[in-house]
Subunit: 232 residues, 2 copies
């Protein structure tokens, strides 16, 4: 991270356009980062690339920004989903932050047979993902989904997207990069229920893979798996 | 994780030998895990492999264990160090836990030009590493070192050990597995000071590598880097 500021906004970005910040963004710019009118920052919205902008006016709970010129065009990003058995709050927060840094296009918590959690605060997770996207210099924010039963997700699985399951104590090959739309599926801390794993493996789009000889916590498996799936 | 218990002990392990637990281990066995005399568990000490044992007697703050038979021999593990610019407490805790799961042989915090932390509670970090080793089915616990200045570590760098530096915004090749003794070096959140990076790169044992197109937090870089260095 450098001292430069990047903000995610929802407004369209083009040369000369004006963008209004949220109250939180104005607080961050003015109070936390001590920025003043005239100071530069970068903006992205997930569609129009990254733009240089300047603060036109700033008050305690509102700032106006003027967009200057494009710094980077919107480039293709990995079409990689993270599907994970919902974890406790702190571990879920960690997974959302790290998956965003590691470029996941969508983050989809699921409820498996041995999952003990069922709810998330999607607004809080979105704030974590936006902050991680801003800091990691991503040009997008991952899609965040409400938790759903694993069965339901499998029943509506899109044609052409591979699913790589991280399985423990297996002789399966280690997770390695692959072409095209993909998803990493990480099970709960207790592992998949055997019948559930069998159902999963019967799907033609599913491949079971290893994350190495040790037993990883679920949050570690999400992070290591996403890194390995994008190794070059 | 399964419901089985693994404990790290320092005593020698051989068939028929008796092992005395610490008070914390007895509390964990009896109060947390509700184990009783006669119940099985696995033991490892980093030298003699993994052994099946049974609880001979258990009280609130002490338990005696009898070692039965060897489950696994002591196998070679990756000779991979993690060297990282010391982070704040929570991030350092996370790095120690995850680096242990990912098989790091030694964990060496260093003080760089832009490092803002200087001290660690080595006993607390050791407890985190031991718990992570127990849960990850490792047969060793990583060596934990006190923080030292990066310069001092470089001055005493062992012959034959490569150092891979994770560098941001570079065209260097991505981190990939390598043979022989190695170390991953991850800099502070603000990145290495330019002069410091130049000094580092002048060492013949140093190779600068990339962790991909995004800017990762330092803790994420430690985890992703260790995973990639051990990709098969």
């Amino acid at each position: 991270m450098s001292g430069s500021i990047r903000l995610y906004v929802t407004a369209p970005l083009s040369a000369g356009s004006e963008v209004q910040t949220t109250a939180q963004q104005a607080h961050y710019l003015g109070t936390v980062m001590r920025r003043r009118a005239g100071d530069p920052l970068a903006l992205f919205n997930g569609r129009d690339g990254e733009w240089l902008a300047r603060i036109e006016a700033i008050r305690r709970n509102h700032a106006s920004l003027i967009v200057d010129r494009r710094l980077r065009g919107q480039a293709p990003e990995p079409d990689l989903w993270l599907v994970f058995a919902l974890l406790k709050r702190d571990a879920t927060d960690l997974v959302v932050q790290k998956a965003t840094e590691l470029g996941a296009a969508a983050i989809r918590p699921v409820i498996t047979t041995r999952t003990n959690a069922a709810r998330v605060n999607l607004a809080r997770l979105a704030a974590i993902a936006i902050e991680a996207a801003e800091q990691s210099e991503r040009l997008t924010v991952p899609e965040l989904h409400q938790p759903q039963p694993l069965d339901a997700l499998l029943a509506s699985w899109p044609t052409g997207r591979r699913m790589i399951i991280a399985v423990e104590r297996t002789h399966a090959p280690q997770i390695a990069p692959l072409q095209g739309p993909a998803a990493l599926l990480v099970g709960p801390e207790g592992g998949f229920d055997p019948a559930e794993l069998e159902t999963l493996r019967a799907h033609p789009f599913v491949t079971a893979c290893s994350l190495g000889p040790r037993i990883l916590r679920a949050d570690t498996a999400c992070i290591a798996g996403l890194a390995l799936l994008q190794a070059r």
